[in-house]
Amino acid sequence: MAGPRSMSSNTAASLNDFAPAGASLPAGERRKPRRVLPGFGLTMGYTLVYLSLVVLIPLSAVFLKTAGMGWEHFWDVVTAPRVVASYKLSFGASLLAASINAAFGLMLAWSLARYEFPGKKLVDALIDLPFALPTAVAGIALTALYARNGWLGSLLEPQGIKVAFTPLGILVALIFIGLPFVVRSVQPVLEDLETELEEAAASLGARRWQTFRYVILPTLLPALLTGFALAFARAVGEYGSVIFIAGNLPLVSEITPLMIITKLEQYDYQGATAIASVMLVFSFVLLFLINGLQAWSSRLNGAGRAK
């Protein structure tokens, strides 16, 4: 949630850890285990036990159960037409929602960082609403807005645009939950940007648009990509806000997490687990990617800036 900015200093610290032995780092002398402070055994032990019990062992259950079902059965389940349709929908809608959020989130972050306007503090605070509002509440609220008799639905349906209970509704829900990831990734970088570079560009005769395109955007790019990836990762797994507005028609508007629920309701635990393992592998790959992006971002913008 507090993603990119809180991770930045971690990355810096761990880069120090992996510095070549000859490098003269101020922290270099600390690299030998000279433990002054007490409590390493206790806190480390507790951390590892709790992490294993709550996260690692239960997650490994998915892979062990999947491993026990045989390759052919697994392949049949995860490539069934209804499941494949759900991948296409989940990934497609998530990519599109994350792209829309990247564009509009960048503009929102820009407005908050660069302009003064009435109600700015309120807007700034409400950006985090999707983090704080339970997804089920967001789901029914969006459905009420875009249903035929809703405020927006009653305007759109006469134009032939159906949002609620169609894939378009899924897109709307995914935009809602993903927006703060982009804004909160880009905004701090934008606020910390020194004006010197832009002044230099202007004094060299660059037009404002050129300055943005060639000076500001490259600096923002890692943060923007991080926000995009975080929004995308969240959207792929999202369930609560989507399920009410989606309509959930097989082959048309079923998302992948719903396929897991459907299998569970039919007591098909193996099927549910197989699809879950596909989703897990995908989210691990994304997590890996996001970590890389954040490391890149903090290297580019001067590391060690906590908050």
Partner: protein
């Protein structure tokens, strides 16, 4: 933040947005500025503000009497109780874990530190539905420990312990990931000085570390609590939807909604929306205090 400085009556040092707008090199033509502002604020109003307003408007559609009735009905009250209980158990558990993990990670050097941090973040990248599923696989009737639990007449899935477990999982990283960067940035010098002067580990933590990280800690707890009370997907998988027994507030909203009791569903939803707004206000306050504390230190 410029806002905090203005609120405290500190003369403007042209921080924040003003320093860009008063500088010809960093300001856009007015039409560009107004286009960006109009587009971004319309997007904000359309996607964030309107859903929030819709919750309250729908909740009060059938009048205030219906609204209150939906909140004091026994099923709603038991859902409130269970939601509070789940948060009351899972937040302290993850708080203790977060502090312990942050201490181990930031005060000592060891191999695999980066991997450990990534593993702590893992629950955030797991779909809530999968988070629920993993506990069904562990404790469900056909799960690893399921038969043993049945023999001893213990119920975890489709019961309160399952809900608590799922909530613990989805809120797992919140406190740790706020504390780790904060304690990393503060270094070890103060703690080492306290230890050398003879303070015990606990005294060092209580009197030296905690005052330095208290706002970050609170920030993590607030976010952790909001997610704990609002979690839907993971809890929905393990709860079994037993009315008055295993229904949390978000699940209660779903049941009412699926029964076409829209006014009641939105009334309960508005309670959760108020909780979200309180969370945002508290969060803002903590951010403001943390900024003020940093400023004080620098002055």
């Amino acid at each position: 933040m410029a806002g905090a400085a203005a609120a405290l009556g500190i003369p403007s040092l042209k921080r924040g947005a003003q320093r860009y707008e008063s500088n010809p090199a960093t300001r856009e033509a007015p039409w560009v500025k107004w286009t960006i502002l109009t587009i971004s604020l319309s997007f904000f109003a359309l996607f964030l503000l309107m859903p929030l307003v819709a919750v309250f408007s729908e909740a009060l559609r059938k009048g205030f009497g219906t609204y209150i009735a939906a909140l004091v009905e026994p099923d709603a009250l038991s859902a409130i109780q269970l939601t509070l209980a789940a948060a009351l158990i899972s937040v302290p558990l993850n708080l203790v874990f977060g502090v312990s993990a942050a201490w181990a990670i930031t005060k000592f050097d060891f191999r695999g530190k980066h991997l450990l941090i990534t593993l702590i973040d893992l629950p955030f990248s797991v779909s809530p539905v999968v988070a629920g599923l993993i506990y069904v696989l562990m404790f469900g009737a056909q799960g690893w420990i399921g038969p043993w639990l049945q023999e001893h007449d213990l119920k975890i899935i489709f019961a309160v312990p399952g809900i608590v477990l799922a909530t613990v999982f989805v809120t797992f990283p919140f406190v740790a990931r706020e504390l780790i960067p904060l304690m990393e940035a503060q270094g070890r010098d103060e703690e080492e000085a306290a230890t050398v002067l003879g303070a015990s580990g606990w005294q060092t933590f209580w009197h030296v570390t905690l005052p330095n990280v208290k706002w970050g800690l609170l920030y993590g707890v607030i976010l952790c609590n909001a997610r704990a009370m609002g979690e839907f997907g993971a809890v929905s998988v393990v709860s079994g939807h037993i009315r008055g027994m295993t229904n949390t507030l978000p699940l209660h909203v779903e049941i009412l909604y699926n029964e076409y009791q829209f006014a009641a569903a939105f009334a309960v939803a508005s309670l959760l929306a108020i909780l979200a707004l309180v969370t945002l206000v508290l969060k803002q306050f903590v951010e403001w205090r943390a900024h003020a504390a940093v400023k004080e230190e620098r002055a």
